[in-house]
Symmetry: C2
Subunit: 243 residues, 2 copies
């Protein structure tokens, strides 16, 4: 049976329901460590387990809009701060048995956020926090969220290679050293400061100078650093590749 015949005789009540949810792997950097937004489930199944923020798609809502709404609800943030969060589709997860109650297909999304306030646990969630990814309780994650998180982290590492999205983890103006810290944190490996500096400035459209510098040097000495803002490029040519 193909699509049009299926639909021609289709009545939702005749078929097993399929639910569509949107989930969000939201990443941020706090105190030099990569953090992930998680909520603790307050009801079965997986009661007390950590899970990704997410929920059912609403009837007249686009997938990306649904993910943005879920993110807003879980972080308690309004439009302004959320505009600075990068959001993209990650992938869909629809194994028949991934939810014990019914067939649920989840459209997972990936978010890069600047340092945001602590999330406000919504009335139904037991808790909501930014958790360091190094402290992920892999055995206590609900559903297949462990796998979704793994995929999201790998996608994030890969995205930093060929897009300028690392800037989305930072304030609107930043130094090259701060940008390097983002790469080192997400990739989990130290980078050569001098070479990174030259490379970033040589890629067209990655960053553009504001003309200004930081008010002070580093806390343990060093000159003031120049400030940059994100450039206009959407892809990096050439890319910054991991080793």
């Amino acid at each position: 049976m193909n699509e049009q015949d299926f639909l021609a005789g289709y009545d939702p009540r005749d078929y097993p329901a399929v639910a569509v949810t949107v989930d969000v792997v939201a990443l941020t950097i706090r105190e030099g460590a990569l953090h992930l937004l998680l909520i603790r489930r307050g009801a079965p199944p997986y009661e007390g387990h950590w899970a990704l923020p997410g929920g059912f798609i609403r009837p007249d809502e686009d997938l990306l809009a649904g993910a943005r709404r879920e993110l807003a609800e879980e972080t308690g943030l309004g439009g302004e701060r959320l505009d600075r969060v990068h959001l993209e589709q990650l992938g869909s997860y629809g194994a028949p048995d991934r939810d014990p109650r019914m067939r649920v297909v989840s459209i997972a999304h990936l978010a890069f956020a600047p340092d945001l306030p602590d999330p406000v646990a919504d009335t139904d969630a037991a808790d909501a926090i930014w958790l360091p990814v190094t402290a992920l309780p892999n055995r206590q994650l609900a559903f297949d969220h462990g796998r979704i998180i793994d995929d999201g982290l790998e996608r994030a590492r890969s995205k930093l290679e060929y897009t300028p999205l690392a800037t989305r983890f930072l304030a609107p103006e930043f130094t090259v050293t701060e940008l390097r810290a983002v790469y080192e944190t997400v990739w989990g490996e130290p980078l050569h400061a001098g070479n990174f500096h030259r490379k970033v400035l040589s890629v067209p459209g990655f960053v553009e100078s504001t003309g200004a510098s930081t008010e002070r040097g580093g806390p343990r000495g060093g000159p003031r650093a120049r400030l940059y803002r994100p450039g206009t490029a959407r892809l990096l040519h050439p890319a910054l590749l991991r080793s």
Copy 2:
């Protein structure tokens, strides 16, 4: 309202139905040109328009398995030939108005196939063919399938850069020249024969020699070419980048 409360009180009959379909952007190379598998719709909406093969996900079927089944149904191919087809998830398309009848979220997939027989139009489709992508009737495509195809083609071009999946367009044994033809066809640009040859053989795990050569030289002269099969690498290091 969050997920668990929603589900606790959830009855599919109380909510607007959401349908989940799988669609496939299936690519192959025929006579030196990139072709796409399309079906012609035999019923409204978009009757007579070309569309991607696809259909509703079945209750106990994984997303990828659904895409493989749809591909099998539309091409009329059994398991053996289909095993050589690369299939991966492309992305999800869920704009609220993308289907005029109801809310449909489609999980699109991307397939790389070796040269296959002509598809067998299934009883419900008016037609099914491999169509050259240069002849795509952009204004006659059903739903948002034009956009899905664009995304699929760009993904395909990108995948050839950093994966050895170009070999999936070829027979189990192939020459370097045949492999180069795949790149030239998908990227739409000529490549330097000598440099491509050296590059392919220098990337670890891209191809491995069979020890054998072709039976004959080229139709217009030239030595016999050595035969290779796909190597064990799943990613190319370093990558073959487009210019």
